[in-house]
Symmetry: C2
DNA sequence: TAATTGTTTCAGATAATATTGAAAAGACAG
DNA sequence: CTGTCTTTTCAATATTATCTGAAACAATTA
């Protein structure tokens, strides 16, 4: 049989299985928040789908449950793999590829922190250094230079904090958070 | 004279003043990173413009230096005020409104943390609670329930950490980061 | 009050992004 | 190698987000 195609291939199997309302709700909300994470809605929804799925999920599942095309599913699954948020697995006796979500929430968080540092903090630090080289030394850019320096220092601190948080891990952090909140009364 | 209008009103004064290359570079980069912060490029560029400007900036300045329309400038300035990242000021003897950027980088960071918590963490926590109420109790959703709970716990931890970081402030955190990096040797 | 200057709004235009689907490429079994 | 199944790619298209500009509105001055 040739690959099913057209009209979302959906008419064929939209009826087969359907998402529980509770899971659907979670997926939709996760998608709505995607804007704040610099990823697109579909990518977030796929991620959420894997997160709420007990079993590994294949491309057809994604297409069916989220009602998206094969190409769309394929491309977004790949992005998620690139981000390190999901991984490909193979099930013996089945030729299809399946995907699972790294289920450890803390690990997910670590991945995101690292990615964001690489994609945001590093580039802006480079830019700041270059701006400082380029900027003149006249009196009237003194404020500007000063602010750039503060920003640089701050971003370094952020980097250190990320390291620290990752190093301590959730248990230690929970302990600290608890202690502090007690002290605060 | 009636308000200048049309063709970006720019032909009239694009020549008057121009941005130093160094500042322009910073602004552009800040804009490129906007995607990761859930705000649009122009909003980020305006913010960067205020950040690198020694003096207060008016709407006309923004239009001229970033080559955008009056409506665009007005709406994005308002959004920045809503976010709490910039503020309106008035200069005596001048009828125009001016804007300045909260220049303390740490305070900027605090504002963003709080906003993000309000816009992202709170809604997803609400949703998770609702999902847990809605979800069945059958065996096959046990994994799902478990994951939701872990996610909830994790988000609470994030909330506590935000509080902690804000409470400690940059100096204390710098100290801690330094100590830890020494220990790690 | 009317004239002047500055600000906001929003329908329509434009630009940027995401999505589809069919063809091409890849993977495997026999 | 050939046939079957699966995944990837990408030009065309659809959708969404953003921007413009002129009109409406607001504030100030004379």
């Amino acid at each position: 049989m040739a690959a099913k195609t057209g009209v979302l291939e959906g008419a064929t199997f939209a009826k087969l299985e359907t998402l529980e309302p509770s899971k659907l709700l979670f997926i939709r909300r996760w998608g709505e928040l995607s804007g704040y994470w610099g990823i697109n809605r579909t990518m977030a929804e796929i991620h959420a789908l894997l997160f709420v799925s007990t079993d590994p999920v294949c491309t057809d599942d994604v297409m069916e449950k989220l009602l998206i095309s094969r190409g769309n599913a394929s491309m977004n699954l790949r992005s998620l793999v690139d981000w390190g948020l999901i991984e490909r697995i193979h099930i013996r006796g089945d030729r299809k590829e399946y995907f699972i979500c790294r289920s450890d929430v803390w690990q997910m968080f670590e991945t995101i922190l690292q990615q964001r540092r690489r994609r945001e903090v590093e580039p802006i630090l480079e830019t700041i250094d270059r701006c400082l080289e380029t900027a003149g030394n006249e009196k009237d850019v003194e404020v500007y230079r000063q602010r750039l320096k503060e920003m640089r220092e701050f971003l370094h601190l952020v980097g250190s904090l990320v390291d620290l948080v990752v190093k301590l891990g959730p248990d230690a952090l929970n302990g600290i958070a608890l202690t502090m909140s007690k002290m605060a009364g």
